[in-house]
């Protein structure tokens, strides 16, 4: 049950604007890889490319599942969700006027996910008791931290093998960010997920990352083999540690 993601020399953008220039990264089975970069450097664009929301202009994106190599470029998000990839989008992107339970059910929209829906819903409520308490409340009426938890729980409703997390720290107080990050680590171990997380909060991200990449102006500026290598790199010092 090995699942990994290989992004090979991908260039992408919006219309005439090129955002990514030949990006290559790998996320191996069971790893948590962090994609570090400040705003506007292409983190979200890369995540959207993997998810099929944006099609890359050049390059290939592979999902390696149990020794099989599946090209994700050219596929739409529906197919990619079916292949076992799920996204916690930036800014949460919940369905604010639907209830918590409806939000969770929509996480399991795909045919494959519907089969296990009762079990996955029970898991979600077990992992996030606050969501069970509020299952009939409108998602938009919850606090930011609860909304982020809901976004994570919703992504897990499709029983994914690969979880993409786009900036879970946006708009949250530091203590809530810590909780969300801790929860992602806990769930990752429980579900044996492969995680790719885009984040600009270095101190939070390294808590769960095995290794990471630093992306600057749409290019991979540094690939750190472990968190120490990342922490020691001049770019991280420059951008995050104030040195």
């Amino acid at each position: 049950m090995a699942h990994s993601i290989v992004v090979d020399n991908v260039s992408a953008g919006y219309g005439a604007v090129r955002v990514l220039h030949g990006v290559s990264i790998e996320v191996n089975d069971g790893e948590t890889v962090v994609l570090l970069g400040t705003n506007g450097n292409g983190k979200s664009t890369l995540i959207k490319c993997i998810m099929g929301i944006i099609q890359p202009d050049e390059g290939e994106i592979y999902l390696e599942a149990d020794g099989e190599r599946i090209n994700l470029a050219g596929r739409n998000p529906e197919e990619i969700v079916n292949l076992g990839v799920a996204l916690v989008p930036e800014g949460r992107r919940l369905f604010p006027r639907l209830t918590v339970e409806e939000n969770l059910l929509l996480g399991a929209y795909r045919e494959e996910a519907r089969r296990g829906i009762d079990r996955n819903l029970a898991f979600a409520f077990e992992a996030f008791p606050v969501l069970a308490e509020r299952k009939n409340q409108l998602a938009g009426s919850m606090s930011g931290g609860e909304q982020q938890m809901l976004a994570v729980a919703r992504a897990l409703m499709s029983a994914p093998k690969v979880l993409l997390v786009d900036e879970p720290s946006v708009g949250l107080a530091p203590i809530l960010v810590s909780r969300v990050i801790a929860k992602i680590r806990e769930l990752k171990e429980e579900y044996q997920l492969t995680v790719l997380m885009a984040e600009q909060n270095f101190n939070q991200a390294v808590k769960i990352a095995d290794r990471g990449y630093i992306i600057v102006h749409g290019e991979i500026a540094f690939a750190g083999e472990d968190t120490e290598a990342l922490a020691g790199h001049e770019l991280v010092k420059k951008y995050y540690l104030g040195a």
Partner: protein, 319 residues
């Protein structure tokens, strides 16, 4: 769920049989005419709501789909005068295809841009029909009703029964959609289309499904129209009333459930019929306009939403 479905089926059957029994007991033809118009709005409002209420795409072109059904029927009547069910099926098919085509053309349009595109569709189609002499062109044409129909004492009673059955069927379709994964996906599109895409909701297919089903139901509602009015011309078939009413009725009733357009169409439609007789036939849009403004300001979730809120408050007090 299954029990709910049974109850719904039984109520639907009772309503259809009931409307047939009415025709065997009631004489006054005015009531059939008035009820036909109200029931026609139940179909139109329900059809509008599948796209506008469930999926969140506001359609200003109801008249286009309705008139497309009506004029498809006129063309068929002029050629070989087939039985009514053929008119209904063909009218539905043509308007459904029109909906599918419009869905494809306007896929990238959202919000007010989609609405303008649908309004333009009605204008363009009216131009085309006005210049199509075979169906009467701009001057219109008279359509002869079949002289008799088995089991009914006259054709107006038969049309009333047909429209009652269509109303029941379209509400049932809306109910089925709402309770299914299709309806759940539509609600996701309405609430946050980008998020729906991220979750793997097939937004393209669902939008096309909504435009097709909504258009088809409007076309079916329009198919018997020429028999009902006897003389059909483009200005009346493409009248703005259809667009305004089919949008206002769900908004007044409530757009997120099957019940909303039904309640809205019955209340507003009946009020309009009463006003036509007691006040003047020009008062209709005035009534709808003031009601719509009132509801948008004071009860944005319509009557159904208002009722839910009141009930929730009561429950809160008791607890």
């Amino acid at each position: 769920m299954n029990k709910e479905r049974k109850i719904f089926l039984i109520v639907a059957a009772v309503l259809i049989v009931g409307s047939f029994l009415i025709t065997t007991h009631m004489e006054n033809r005015f009531y059939y005419k008035a009820a036909y118009v109200v029931l026609q709005y139940v179909v139109l409002a329900t059809a509008w709501n599948i796209l506008g209420g469930y999926t969140g795409y506001v359609n200003f072109g109801t008249a286009a789909f309705f008139a497309m059904g009506a004029y498809t029927a006129v063309a068929l009547i002029k050629t070989w005068k087939p039985p009514l069910y053929v008119l209904l099926v063909t009218g539905g098919l043509v308007s459904g295809l029109l909906g599918l085509g419009i869905g494809y053309l306007t896929l990238r349009l959202r919000g007010v841009f989609f609405s303008i595109a649908t309004l333009a569709l009605a204008v363009v189609l009216q131009m085309i029909v006005s210049n199509w002499d075979y169906v009467g062109g701009g001057a219109g044409t008279a359509v002869l009703k079949p002289r008799s129909v088995p089991m009914f004492s006259n054709y107006d009673e038969f049309l009333f029964f047909v429209m009652a059955a269509l109303a029941v069927v379209s509400v049932a379709i809306a109910w089925l959609i709402e309770k299914s994964w299709i309806g759940r996906g539509m609600a996701a599109i309405r609430d946050n289309e980008e998020a729906a895409e991220c979750m793997g909701v097939p937004i393209l297919k669902l939008k096309l499904f909504a435009t097709t089903v909504s258009g088809a139901l409007m076309g079916i509602a329009g198919a018997p129209f020429s028999y009902f009015v006897v003389y059909i011309e483009p200005t009346s078939a493409f009248h703005l009333d259809y667009a305004v009413n089919s949008l206002a009725m769900p908004m007044i009733g409530g757009t997120t459930t099957w019940l909303g357009p039904l309640v809205g169409a019955v209340l507003v439609g009946t009020a309009q019929q009463i006003a036509t007789v007691t006040l003047s036939s020009e008062m209709n849009l005035l009534i709808v306009g003031s009601l719509l403004v009132g509801f948008v300001v004071f009860a944005p979730d319509g009557l159904v939403g208002l009722f839910g809120k009141v009930r929730a408050r009561f429950a809160g007090k008791e607890a």
